[in-house]
Symmetry: C2
Subunit: 392 residues, 2 copies
């Protein structure tokens, strides 16, 4: 017989899921109600409004897709790419490669703009790709690369798409609520995110927003969207404001309680304050890491405050360090992904996990484990350096 | 400012979501751990084993898809249908129609076998369809039609597919854990379900299982699966037993805590006991409804014990009755769907909600509301008739 599962209380400082607020865990376990219950419909409306705030948009089609961020990504591509379409895809990490897969599985042609892992997307190279491919109807890029901890210039890339009469698809899985994201001001057309990063919500849901121009393109498609589950014309019938709600699928009721609560918390704090908090804790962590003698993998001007890529010191056993952090300190940090496996650690300070307590926990634990491994570090230097920059 | 959401405690006797056990709600709010945490990997293995028990299968590829039942359906179709394939689709309610949509969006040709809503799928008609379409590579049907409350003969239909060298895709969203379902004994090839029906879990996850023959067809595909998110070859890399787990998407960690707990509860009760409980409470409900003077919409031999379709008495205001049940008794029952809208109610007795208490609650509330509406019913007759058949 299999027994009930009781997980330990970890501190989640990897690339996500991040620590979930007790308020959110309280919300997810509230009694389930029907997905067509009038009170649930009211909750759906509130979630739309709260997501509009988080995305800084007035887009009517702003909803949570009932599946993880990968499905939110796919929702953007299957609705906007038609067979034969040319899509410019910027890749500077793992997730640009996934975008390429999405384009090709929709029958589209992906024109790749490649930048090194750890560098931002080059706006100049992207401009050149448009010049070479004036037929491109879409530009897709990642705002905050979770695999490398790099921020790209989303405002400039969205503007470039507009100049070239293309729509933009923007991955904001790791950026939403962690750094500035202005969907309307930047003119982003299809934007997806995840709940398990800077929203500090449980994983499993993907907020998306589509501009009026994107909705128009969806409504004028000649080919049916290849996914029934992700067909926004059908989903709109369930989430839409101006229609009698038509049953499409059973919404993940409790997950949406959790998302609602995390968005209420974001609204209470205010976006600007949330961004400032992420920045402050990031600076303290970096000061501590550098005082310890470690180096950051990304140039200062391109760093994401919510995801800190650190070079693994030579001679240190990557997996052994992460295992010790987990076993002895219940602390999870992230391994490198793809080309950066074994070369970097990714230390998340996302949402609820972006706290002075976590900065201190991480520096203390990392120092202890690295010392034990015989790494050459400055013992005792990290905490004072970090604390000088921390406020509570 | 938007405030936190506190739902009322409903009694969920619609077509799902059904009442969620307090044990499951307790599990979902346990601390989130990482989706690559060794303890989470262990949880994944336990879930696979528990799902194998629930499905009565030894299929290695038995996993929860990280999205609702509609996505589980789509996972079966996108992985098994290639462009140009002929698929025989049986339709006797809403969900057969959705299967047709899936086939067509995969570039397949759907040959429809139509039966009246409220009737089971005709095995004879299906046999005739195979005779007319020997090129068919798949047979798709719904075991338990949620829109009508009808059970079809899944064993016979799976056998028929085998005789014709076709694979079977079986919708068991409403049947799993409520009535007999023997994936291996029946030779079903691709089977999907949902968490929010007889598993009494929160909505949002779709258990699926694929036979070795189905896996072989997936591995020999010439066209890439059109969905990246639902591509089982990629998902297998994350859930597979024989590989180093490869990151595919972030699993919905807390939802899987909930699913695990609901499956542990099913294992504790035992499948046969769970089926017997569903049958017993169903018989009591029907006895009560008929004593009240109402009639069932489905012939006795085809009824699902977990979903009871009742004819709405003439002159009774459908919506007003359901609203009164919800507002005055916090009781949700289901409206008719599609062709049966306004003609039937669907009363669920699923999983944790299949209890003597819910039978009594429903009969009492319905009698009160129908009396108030001036319907011609036998007041006072329902409870004694039901209680004679109830055990606690």
């Amino acid at each position: 017989m299999t027994s009930s599962f009781f997980p330990p209380q970890r501190t989640l400082m990897g690339p996500g899921p991040s620590d979930v607020s007790p308020r959110v865990l309280g919300a997810v376990s509230r009694p389930t109600i029907g997905h067509l219950d009038p009170l649930f419909v009211q909750l759906m409306d509130e979630i739309k409004g709260l997501l509009q705030y988080a995305f800084q948009t007035e887009n009517e089609l702003t909803i949570p897709v009932s599946a993880p961020g990968s499905a939110g990504m796919e929702a953007c591509f299957v609705n906007l790419v038609s067979p034969g379409d040319t899509v410019i895809v910027c890749q500077n990490g793992v997730f640009g490669g996934r975008m390429k897969e999405n384009v090709e599985r929709c029958g589209g042609i992906a024109v790749m703009v490649e930048d090194a892992w750890g560098e931002p997307v080059s706006v100049d190279k992207t401009r050149a790709a448009f010049a070479e491919h004036p037929e491109a109807t879409l530009l897709a890029f990642v705002h905050a690369e979770t695999s490398t901890g790099v921020k790209s210039d989303a405002a400039a890339l969205c503007a470039l798409a507009k100049e070239n009469n293309a729509l933009s698809i923007v991955d904001t899985v790791t950026s939403l609520a962690g750094i500035e994201l202005k969907v309307d001001a930047w003119g982003a057309d299809a934007v997806y995110s995840g709940t398990q990063k800077c929203l500090s919500c449980i994983p499993g849901i993907s907020p998306v927003t589509f501009s009026p121009a994107a909705v128009e393109r969806i409504q004028n498609r000649e080919h049916k969207v290849q996914s029934w589950f992700l067909d926004m014309q059908l989903v709109m019938g369930y989430w839409g404001a101006n229609t009698k709600r038509a049953y499409h699928h059973t919404a993940p009721v409790n997950d949406l309680y959790a998302l609602h609560e995390s968005l209420v918390m974001l609204q209470e704090e205010g976006l600007e304050n949330a961004h400032a908090r992420h920045q402050r804790n990031h600076e303290a962590l970096v000061a501590g890491l550098e005082a310890m003698g470690l180096s950051m993998a990304v140039a200062a001007e391109h760093r994401l405050p919510q995801l800190n890529a650190v070079n693994i010191p030579e001679g240190v056993d990557d997996a052994a360090v992460r295992t010790a952090l987990l076993q002895d300190f219940n602390l999870e940090i992230g391994a490198g992904l793809g080309a950066l496996a074994g070369k970097t650690w990714r230390i998340g300070l996302m949402g609820y996990a972006s706290s002075p307590r976590n900065v201190v926990t991480c520096l203390t634990a990392l120092e202890a484990v690295l010392s034990r491994q015989g790494a050459t570090i400055n013992v005792g230097a990290a905490l004072p350096a970090a604390k000088a920059l921390l406020t509570d």
